[in-house]
Symmetry: D2
Subunit: 383 residues, 4 copies
């Protein structure tokens, strides 16, 4: 019945290809001025060990037949220490507006640890993804570092029902396994991929976006990477590098209100304990603020953060040795989080391509030439 | 392969039968002294409109074969306004110890509303139950009172892997539908039923328990009902009506540590707003305290509360009229919550029967005669 | 010993004067483009009933002698329903970064009510202000609407020790009484007044700022007013209307790091319950984001919100009748909060004048002409 | 005007005397059975480094004249690392019911550190105590370990207005300095001392109580100490060692409702990070539950916890080395917290003596002989 779209699932399989990733311009390639120094890939994977995998499901077109399609959805996996590690990381989370789901947060909050991958999908597939993460781990036959069996997976979502047959429940366990197994470091696919496939951002086509910042050596030389599944926002509020781009390109708004959501994942290799990571997650709000969000009632703006420092911190039984950055060293990390979030959102829109889904609903891509023209009008075009 | 146990699933189908429910003694029938005045059924369903349904899955015996059994699990549904209502209720939640899952809490926290049923199952079946709740609602073709599609279901869990083939993922969507559809008012089945089927409490056999309190008329005459899925606790800490029962009956402990969890659902018809309901949920901790819990690291002690007052409070578009009990009227409700929680836990153990599960693991029932003897020794036998 | 500066305390006494308030240009008078429709005074007092009073303490100059001065400090009082009301309001609070104090928040969080005024002062005077609020209320001889005696006042602070002899503890009870008693509606003094006297914002002179928004009638016609005590921020991050003003005017930075804080008070007459007010408070973060804040480790970014609707909601003993805006009507209020916060911060800097304090430390005012020139450079000058 | 009562303030000065402390029987001396192993002094000071100081103010009798007395109040200081240390400790806090004040919690929550002493006093003296802590530190001329000046002190309170002229504001800075300066290790005075002087607990005379537990060596041999300022509870709910003592001794209730509060301080030398300390604080609820509390609306049940491990963790500038107990080692600490809280409350009542205060209001002491008789009746007398 449901089949993988020839241009979709294989895309995921090819996703590690540098050629692919570099072929598409990103926001700063278009001359958007951003502050701070990005890492090698300007991606969450610049934090060593982080791997990202997508399964993209695109099939069918025309009128919605629930259970048959059209399908415009998927699932994204982020492994904090790579897919072959069973070591937990310190983590934390924050809700800017709660109209969404992120499972696993109660234990994340209380334990301070993230045991396993972070998954992002559509709203109605959170359950299947959650249980499939457990099944995947059971299949691999190893408990997590605390001796539990990754029984409380972290799975987040945004709603893609404007383009996707969301009530058809098209994400299946095998798609989850594929995203988990195909995850890799290096360049990260953006736009209409993985959980972001059918998403809409500031009423342009949205999806997955990423960015990173590297601190200078006197601040510790740490890296902060951000990945977003971007589905929030009202067109007229959109600012890019402070410029009122949304007002300047008012055509073809998808909805006319803020109905979406954004999931933000913040990764760092700085040695932060959970109290500090919670603050880091919270700062992502300010990056969203720079982009013009007002985080509407219908938005599930939920952020999760983790640190890849302190390996084996979750090992049971014996006293653990930790490293901790002093609180007075956090400022460069806070600023990096704000900057990388600001950029990751724009990267998602720049990468996403116009998509038509159920009942011929269409979300248009942010037009690159128009963006450059607007930046120029406001004397903000970087190149 | 997997079939419903003849004594199990049919039990659920018969669960409304008064004869059945009354045949089993409850804690106060055994002479345990409790304070306060219970409602007609001493159950959460004493709060008018609340309906409870169970699907109980028991099959196989002997050595564990993952995917085949033995199966000792299930799912329980609590409809705040009955299965045929699509009206939300004000709600709130609280975590005493976070080693567990309750989905849907981010929006519950931020919206102040509970849109749909509360589900309780085993740890590895949260996902299937969650998506099935959405599917059930979609099938019935009506949005919730806020115009959303119950897309963020509240599903909680405790871990039954000591008795149940938990990695076999035996709970299926049809079991969820059955629990939802078979829910009813009146007496509530307790012990080895629904989500509580394979649970262990204070190292006795545990499961589902319930109790209620009715306030006197000068306190408003409101009802508070509590339902627990009881899977927490270490034997030597167990107190019943203040008596150190656990120390007096030390035989056959299941584990020797506090590895379990407890989900507590608090219902009331008092007109409380979410801020007040959050406090109500938090007070359940004190009922657990009376029973001797210390809420160990491995425990997912997560509580949810709701009020059936203020119908249509979640209706969109127009200004809503609400009733609110003043804060200074909360004390009798707080005390009722503590008392009903204290009793519901004991009811779960009194109702549960000895069960043997995977690899011949056995959890023994709290022996009724021994309980009476201990109460008598400490001059606390009520009758 | 300490005496009121002739240009300071009398300023507070004159603070109601329209002539005074109108003589100073505000941000939009300088051509800064802001979205949305402000109320009559573009001030928190546009929310009917809200009154603001300041006591401004300025005396001495030159080298710091602890206990003698120089003094550059004060206290600001905000009465949600005016100084003569003893009626509580629904309220809530949020912390974006916690390096600060706001007393009274534990009961605000749990009760959902704000009983009495909100006070803002310097970090080392929170205590004296707190107890003085109780003394002021005791003197007036009336309990609050819950029958308590306003025993848990809400007092917030930011740190003015760069300009002020903060360890001299110059704020005295009589200054608190004056701020409380002199509070008034209408135009609100901004800049170097009240608690904001010695504050620094984005390394320009900061202090008190305010703004408001009026919703259109189909959104309910409600008003949102914001008042900030602005002491946060690093120069190079400052954006005004999206324009990188801080980078364009780099001269005379006060510190070179983000050491300050911001207290944000959000008032509305929309009938919101505490759950909703908490979300409103949280959205102020996004206004700060628009202005470029990254909320550094040293910042106490603490926000409080209240609704003047639902009079007598806190009356004890009998069931209360409330009005509540549906959640799906919150978006215009969220956007108004973001916009009014964005503008209030800029208003604080525009109003504040260059100040020299202890040890000849100086904070320069944001130069109005330079601001206009920068806005013009980026094609954002509104007039 | 106000003078120190000859039997009061000197008591504080003498408070280190072993003779004094040992002269009074404590709960277990009366035969109350408690579980677990206490430390040498069965006091919070069993956690090495912790020092406690009291200033007790008792003067006047008869009819209340506001500002003149009678005075029945005071202030208690707890130094986590002793009065001569300026080193911060990891800390956390929790609110069971929020009708109270604890200043400094916003930064405690966000920084994970407690910088300076914990102070406990009456409700209307929180401000003077707070500012006096800053003044005391300024006088000593050293910043805290983060380079700040202890500017956000932690000061908690309960309400003593039934016995004390609370609106007379009798606590002065010199009383705060005395409590800070006279703090010591070893036995801790209990009952009508320090901040607990005028407090009422379960409608018996209450005040300060303390207890401790030492873990066995395979659990790490750590110590947990608890100190309470006990002012909560309704007589008929009081349980001691599970026995319904309150119902058995119904005479002379102070109020007939739960109007009070309890502040609980939990100290440990186990190496816990703030996430873990937050859980520890929360578990104190279960100790209260064992004693029968239902935490009424009027109660400010606020708990703070800290760990004396990890010295210099708050030092700025360079990466810190920490030790952390694994989460799976927390259970014995959780249980110790529950047990020590349960006992500290009873110790407060056992130590407190009948007191008559304003307008001849009297709170009677828990009668020791009656307590023993009731324990015996329920077969729970330990000796």
């Amino acid at each position: 019945m449901m089949r993988f779209h020839p241009l979709a699932f294989p895309t995921a399989l090819l996703c590690g290809s540098l050629a692919f990733a570099q072929a598409k311009p990103r926001a700063r390639d278009l001359g958007v001025p951003f502050d701070g120094t990005p890492g090698a890939n300007n991606a969450i994977t610049d934090v060593r060990g982080v791997e990202v995998g997508h399964t993209t499901l695109i099939s069918g077109s025309g009128k919605l037949k629930v259970g048959e399609g059209p399908v415009r959805t998927g699932v994204t996996a982020i492994h904090p220490r790579g897919k072959n590690s069973n070591d937990s990381v310190f983590g934390a989370w924050f809700t800017l507006n709660g109209n969404g789901e992120m499972t696993g947060t109660t234990w994340l909050e209380d334990s301070g640890f993230l045991n396993g991958p972070i998954m992002i999908t559509n709203t109605h597939s959170v359950g299947v993804v959650r249980d499939a993460v457990i099944a995947w781990k059971v299949k691999r036959g190893e408990p997590d570092t605390e001796g539990y069996w990754w029984s409380l997976p972290v799975v987040a979502e945004t709603w893609d029902g404007y383009l996707n047959d969301i009530n058809g429940f098209h994400v299946k366990p095998e798609h989850v396994f594929h995203a988990l197994d195909s995850a890799h470091g290096g360049p990260v696919e953006e736009g209409n991929v993985g959980g972001g496939t059918g998403m809409i951002c500031n009423e342009f086509k949205g999806g997955i976006g990423t960015a990173s910042r590297v601190l200078d050596s006197k601040a510790g030389g740490y890296t902060v990477g951000v990945l977003v599944q971007c589905n929030y926002g009202r067109r007229d509020q959109l600012r890019i590098a402070g410029v009122p781009v949304g007002k300047e390109i008012p055509e073809h708004p998808a909805y006319g209100e803020d109905v979406g959501s954004i999931i933000i994942v913040v990764a760092t290799d700085a040695p932060l304990i959970p109290t500090q990571l919670k603050r880091l997650a919270r700062k992502a709000s300010l990056g969203l603020g720079r982009d013009g969000s007002y985080s509407g009632d219908g938005s599930g703006d939920i952020f999760v953060s983790f640190s890849t420092a302190n390996p084996r911190a979750a090992d049971p039984k014996s006293l653990r040795d930790l490293k901790m950055l002093p609180n007075d060293g956090l400022d460069p990390l806070f600023l990096a989080t704000v900057q990388a979030t600001e950029e990751a959102v724009i990267n998602a829109m720049v990468a996403a391509e116009t998509m038509t889904g159920i009942d011929d609903h269409t979300a248009i891509a942010l037009p690159h030439d128009r963006l450059r023209a607007v930046l120029k009008k406001y004397n903000r075009l970087a190149k």
